[in-house]
């Protein structure tokens, strides 16, 4: 993340997000309250998931002054029974933007761990009140921090730190923020209830500002297996991604500044002692296996340049041309550029060459990608017409494009490893749907993993029909990485797929009592906006959604025709006994008779007819 550090050094991340808070879903008091609830609840669930703890979440929203009209300050508290955070990490975790453990490639609800800090930041700017974090990580002591955020410096300012005894691990975060519950209330209640649908293994209690408690009990006791952190899949990796991976893989020639020299000295145990070039090399030989890579590289250069530490401080390395075995450097003392021939026989040559050129393509493929073994790597090299021992650092731009292209086109890679994904699973999803909607019919499917742009994803979907579902037309519940998506429904890919379906083909018409639950899991959900409310349409995702939906629609159609036949039989059974008496009633008055005709015989005939036809 060295790049990030450089990019952000101009402006602190807190400052950046403060200025761009609209992007992160903090555009107004209504939206901000809702987003804050989401961020804290999702962090709590993520924390529990990672440690396989069945989550007990307690969410409460209280008005500071209930009499005041909205928007007004609210106290938002979320408490969980997760692993807690070690006290030393708490200030940084909650007081710094861009601090978090979520940068690896695995599925989690939150993306960067930005949201919670954003909420804290937002609370602080609107009410100037500190955040209160209570954390117990060891099950013995609870640390309570009261702190503010220094926006310019992106640093926490601890106002108070106390400890007390505790018996359970867990984390509780409480902030004061300006919100508008009268407007956000519906969304928040929807959010909580839908979260309970997609997290059937969690127990969630929500206490709203009026003091009313909504309890969503745990429906299943088994937790889905937690996701693992994995490497990217070669399919769909683009040139830029490869370039970044290569930068990570091979090591640049260290900048020879005082810091570097100090480091070399300390690793060689020569903090105070000056040796000549030869002496330094001898020393280095002895300690070689303990030296860090940058130090080895510096030592290698010293061997070719015949320099001691003094000399080293007077030069700048300009270019290392491995192909032509030349090293170019600038001597400050002489204000002159020098070129040195590299002896390829020297043991130090390999050190330098590897440093600049990085791994071989073969090693790069097997080490940096998931599901690529030596055999696949060989096959790929043949397919892409690259030598497998080619150093990736020596590849030209054209070759990188060719490589990226080949990575996408090669069909023998195994499908992406879904172990980094944490779909809910068919059984818990089905149980959740049954409990939540109490339908007459439900069916679920989990598609096998697929990938878009190198990110694996899994689509889970369920449909429910009839029962307690009101006949108010098709309703779609959208989830991504176990988060309910409530806003911006119109532009979502799931809605697009649902609307494209010809439902009449599946015997669905009118305003059916019908819900669809769609869950997309991915290491990276392609959200359209930072607000994370709608998923963009990627062809790979569209295809999976469509297949899942068609499968379920077919199941439903079978049910519908069965149901239709059962209904028909039921209706028929009563047809004659329903209508004949009515006809008798009408014609008695019409024909000016006093007494109704005796139609019993006809009803009997009718039921005989019915039996014949069914």
């Amino acid at each position: 993340m060295s790049l990030t550090k450089e990019t952000f050094s101009q402006i602190s991340p807190s400052e950046f997000f403060y200025r761009n808070r609209d992007l992160a879903g903090f555009s107004n008091p209504t939206r901000s309250l809702y987003t804050s609830v989401r961020e804290f609840v999702e962090n709590a669930l993520d924390a529990c998931d990672q440690k396989k703890i069945l989550p007990d979440i307690h969410l409460s929203i209280k008005a500071v002054d209930p009499e005041q009209p909205d928007p007004k300050p609210y106290i938002l508290s979320v408490k969980d029974n997760g692993p807690g955070i070690e006290p030393k990490h708490v200030p940084l975790a909650f007081g710094t933007v861009l601090y978090g453990s979520k940068f690896g490639l695995k599925q989690a609800r939150g993306m960067f761990g930005l949201g919670a800090t954003m909420a804290i930041l937002y609370g602080q700017i609107t009410t100037n009140k500190p955040v209160i974090v209570k954390s117990c990580a060891d099950g013995k002591t609870q640390d309570e921090f009261v702190m503010l955020l220094d926006i310019q410096k992106n640093k926490p300012v601890i106002q108070k730190h106390t400890t007390k005894e505790a018996s359970k691990t867990g984390l509780s975060v409480s902030i004061v923020l300006e919100g508008d519950y009268s407007k956000a209330g519906t969304k928040i209640r929807d959010y909580v209830s839908q979260t309970s649908l997609i997290t059937p293994y969690a127990s969630i209690i929500f206490e709203d500002p009026s003091g009313e408690k909504f309890h969503f009990p745990r429906i299943v006791k088994e937790m889905p297996s937690p996701p693992t952190i994995i490497k990217p899949h070669p399919h769909g990796i683009d040139v830029e991604t490869i370039r970044r991976m290569i930068v990570d893989t091979h090591y640049q020639i260290p900048i020879v500044d005082n810091n570097t020299i100090t480091k070399v000295r300390s690793e060689l145990g020569l903090q105070k002692k000056n040796l000549n070039s030869k002496g330094i090399l001898e020393r280095a030989q002895k300690k070689w296996s303990n030296l860090s890579r940058p130090v080895r590289t510096v030592v290698a250069m010293m061997s070719f340049l015949n320099l001691d530490f003094d000399g080293l401080s007077k030069i700048r390395i300009d270019d290392l041309d491995v192909a032509n075995k030349k090293l170019t450097y600038w001597n400050f003392g002489e204000s002159k550029s020098h070129v040195v021939e590299l002896d390829s026989e020297s043991p130090y040559y390999k050190q330098l060459a590897n440093t600049v050129q990085g791994d071989t393509l073969h090693a790069f493929l097997t080490k940096r990608f998931q599901r690529v073994g030596p055999t696949t790597a060989d096959k790929f090299c043949e397919f892409a017409k690259f030598k497998s021992e080619k150093r990736i650092g020596s590849m030209t731009n054209e070759e990188l494009v060719k490589l990226a292209d080949a990575l996408q086109k090669f069909e023998e890679f195994l499908s992406p490893d879904p172990s980094c994904l944490a779909p809910l699973g068919e059984e818990p999803l089905s149980k959740g749907i049954m409990k939540f909607f109490n339908p007459e019919f439900a069916s679920v499917i989990q598609r096998s993993a697929s990938a878009y742009s190198g990110f694996p994803f899994v689509v889970e979907m369920g449909v429910a029909y009839g029962g307690d579902i009101p006949p108010a037309g098709l309703k779609v519940y959208r989830f991504a990485n176990r988060i309910p998506l409530l806003y911006d429904e119109g532009s979502d890919v799931v809605l697009k797929i649902v609307n494209e379906m010809d439902w009449s083909r599946y015997k669905i018409k009118g305003d059916p009592p019908f819900v669809i639950v769609s869950h997309i899991c991915s290491t990276r959900i392609p959200y359209k906006t930072v607000g994370k409310e709608n998923v963009a349409d990627r062809p790979e995702i569209e295809r999976e959604l469509k297949n899942a939906l068609q499968y379920l629609a077919r199941k439903l159609a079978v049910h519908m025709s069965r149901q239709g036949m059962a209904d028909m039989a039921k209706k028929r059974a009563n047809l004659y006994s329903k209508y004949i008496p009515l006809i008798a009633q009408f014609v008695t008055e019409l024909s000016a008779n006093k007494k109704e005709p005796n139609y019993k015989q006809l009803i009997k005939k009718g039921s005989e007819l019915e039996e014949q036809q069914i």
Binding site: R572, L575, Y579, I583, L590, S591, P597, L602, L609
Partner: protein, 367 residues
Amino acid sequence: MKNNKSKTTKTAEARKEKLLSILKNQGLTIYNDLENGKFPQFSIPSRSVSNIVYDKKLRQYILGNSSAVRSARNMSQLRSYTQLSWLAFFVNRLVKEGKSSTLRDIYYSSQAFEIDFEDQPESDNIIVDLEALLSFPREDFHIFPEERSSVFGDLTIEYTVPGYEGKKVNLSDHPDGYLIGPSLSSAELIDTSAELVIAIEKGGLFTRFVEEKVHKKFKAIIVDTAGQAPRSTRGLLKRLNTELGLPVVILADGDVYGEHIAMVIKSGSANAAHLRELTVPDAKWLGVWATDIEKYKLPTIPMTESDIKRIYDLQKDPRYQEGNWKTQLEVFLKLKRKAELEAFSKYGLTNITDKYLPEKLELSKSL
């Protein structure tokens, strides 16, 4: 014309009695079937397109010979059979009690009797079934559409609706005319000094005609059809023609729709092919003809695409295959322009009554 008077008295009453007796007979037949353990059935003339034919003798569309049986024995027909028998029962009540209703009323009334019409189109359809079954227009069932038009002129009528029985009114008493509603439709036509009925397409012209005393100058009863004449208006025109022996002339806009308004009054519409009480075969279309547009130098407006499409459609209709009807369509198609009745106002507000109408009436005698 006054010699018709005695003959026409109580016509409305007689129609009502006839309808009630037919209803009762239907009721008796079904009653006996039920009593004898036999599934009752109706035989309804088929209203499918293939069974609608033009009868040159009657000069209107009629239903052919094919008919459909609706039986209580058939499971898929049982429901609509019950609906139809309910409607007969309900109409019987309406007519006996002298109450009127609308198509929408019928849809809602059914719900009190556990008759589940899915929507109004379904109940409307059953009403047409009953019309076809009994060969009576729904106005005789006291079921009226929402649309209404008006009539003005020296015509004395006698109400038969409850509360007004025997009350007489002269239709020239109110300058805005009288609404052709349920009570007027069911009234007896008693007396008139008129010698002519002028049906006119537009309310504005109707008012002008009253102001210009057309009813006196031409001894006419003026009827405003308010566009395509509703069935109650066509029913009234028919009665004025047959019961009082008055010739009917029609003035409509100078376009294809105007021409067809005249045609529907004269020979009915395909939609009402099952009914024979709504046409005035001897009615004459006075104008505005396509040829009048040039003759009277009327200001015109261009036809729209749908106007032109309508001309092509009508050219396929058997009634437009000859004579003036055919000629005028062809001229319209050639001109591709149309003129409204108001176009005469270019030459003064009274031009239409002072000049055009007398000339056309004179001409119509030779038609």
